[in-house]
């Protein structure tokens, strides 16, 4: 049933290599992402998962390799371009704007959709006000969806960890992304919070058709919700396939459990 909705490849990587000085973070990584799928990237600590996400949304620029996004081939992305072309993300260590309210944080996610300039903003009149309210309406939909109505005016710095993660997801969703990158969305959460987060991710994927690329350490979650999984170890790809294929792969078992020498 789930596979029916999955479409064509919209993002693919070929031979991506990234190094910092002498340290090789990624070595000739290649995989693809299909439209509407949930694609997980897993691997032990330091395997290069976050680096991979940073390559996708243009924070890091790979020294080698090619990214093909929606049929267009490019060496790397830059952050603005990737945001503009519909890639949003959340961070491993929450990167919210601590001094601002939940509402304002999510509103920032809509910045690329805002037209008015600072002079109109300063007058807060006519089109500027209408625009602000139109976007507010959209943001309220996200707030409803994530069930965080009660904290919309609270500064995010005061919120519990699990809620902050949820707000960060909200900020990413506000951009109405076509690809959503989630860096350990369930790290440090208790079981209920994890269940909520899974539900949100699946709903986003299902209702909005958003393609999701996900890094997660909780294997139960990964195997449960993702369509395909790519496994990295020491910056190299060691496996790629459906959860069942990956689970049975000997290299993956070795990477996680260690090998007898």
């Amino acid at each position: 049933m789930m596979n029916k909705r999955i479409g064509e490849v919209i993002l693919s990587f070929e031979n991506i290599s990234l190094s910092f000085g002498g340290v090789k973070a990624l070595t000739r990584i290649g995989f693809d992402v299909r439209e509407h799928e949930i694609r997980a990237i897993i691997g032990p600590n330091g395997a290069g998962k976050s680096s991979m996400l940073n390559v996708i949304n243009g924070v890091y620029h790979p020294q080698e390799g090619e990214i093909v996004f929606r049929g267009k081939s490019r060496r790397g992305m830059n952050t603005y371009e990737s945001a503009k072309s519909g890639i949003a993300r959340t961070f491993q260590n929450i990167a919210l704007f601590k001094g601002m309210s939940v509402l304002d944080n999510i509103m920032t996610g809509r910045n690329l959709k805002m037209r008015s300039n600072f002079l109109l903003d300063a007058l807060y009149w006519g089109p500027a006000q209408r625009e602000e309210i139109a976007h507010r309406r959209k943001v309220e939909e996200i707030i409803d969806f994530l069930e965080i109505q009660h904290i919309r005016k609270t500064p995010v710095g005061r919120l519990a960890y699990g809620l902050q993660k949820r707000v960060e997801l909200g900020r990413a969703l506000a951009a109405e992304p076509s690809i959503l990158l989630l860096d350990e969305p369930m790290a440090g959460m208790n079981v209920e919070e994890k269940q909520d987060m899974c539900r949100f991710i699946l709903d986003v994927n299902d209702q909005l058709g958003t393609t999701i690329i996900l890094i997660e350490h909780d294997m139960g979650v990964v195997m449960d919700i993702s369509d395909r999984v790519v496994v990295l170890d020491y910056g190299k790809k060691i496996a790629d396939g459906t959860p069942d294929e990956v689970r049975a792969n000997q290299d993956v078992i070795d990477a996680y459990l260690g090998v007898a020498h």
């Binding site: 603005y80 949003a88 996610g109 805002m114 006000q129 602000e132 309210i133 309220e140």
Partner: protein, 363 residues
Amino acid sequence: MFYREAGQFKATYAEDNRIFPIRQDRIVFAFIIIFAFLGVPLLASIGLVSNYTFTAILTPFLIFSLAALGLNILTGYAGQLSLGTAAFMAVGAFASYNFMLRIEGMPILVAFMLGGLCAAGVGIVFGLPSLRIRGFYLAAATLATQFFIVWCLTKIGWFTNYSSSGVISAQKIAILGYTFESSMSKYLFVLSVVSVMALLAKNMVRSNIGRSWMAIRDMDMAAEVIGFRPMRTKLMAFAVSSFYCGVSGALFAYAYLGTVEPEGFNLDLSFRILFMVIIGGLGSILGSFLGSAFIVLLPIVLSITIQFLEHSIGLNLPSGIGSSIELMAFGSLIIFFLIVEPHGLARLWQIGKEKLRLWPFPH
């Protein structure tokens, strides 16, 4: 007991987005505005507000508030530390002077605008280092602005119209044939400019541009990833902030001092305004006004206290000790605020309001 928003329902987002969503706040604010525009002149007309109050307290308070507001946009909202505030004020003052001097029939408000725009231009140029450096290093770079601008204005005679002492006399403020001569009329003029600009600033910080500044301040990496462009955002903050400082510098010259020299805009002034922002509250429009009121009033209150002590208990202090005590009190208060309440008077006000909502009950 009186400060409750129970029963005030907001049916539209427009209502919820208002500057003062709570009715009591709106009433208090309207009262303050009416009092400032009508009450103060009325009191003056029956002799309750003296000329001294206008020239030494109210007008400088408003002008410094505007400068503090400018710096607050840059430092409080956009998170870029600056020590060049006085330099931007100087640019505004001297540019306005030259526009008035060299262009026949230049309306004063346009001259102030142009002065502000010149300051904004200078702000953008000297804001360029902020793209690579931050924090104390940026502060050091803006320090260079401070010295460079004052040096330029002193050394290049054209700016001061080749006055031998470097002092310029600001032209009269006249709008549509009405000349603002009396201290009260100057106060009202400054009050109008400051009110409008404060409103514009408030609108900016509650809309997209303000959110972009705060996003860059709180987490620049995340701000970039969601599509804010750091260069544009930071330079915009420098431009808007410098514009505010520039206009306040022009008011400083035209409505407060009358005659100014480049040296009047020295590092001391920059620090004074930075202290206003720190004491008043970083990232708060209200804080800019509170900080300015605090720093304008503090010396006056201290000198009155010292005079009172001298008279009442016959305390005989050596002359000049008043200003030393003032400096000491000033320094200790800065340290006190940095430790106890880094968000300044504005935060204290906010905490007070939260307490007031519950009062007289504990929860």
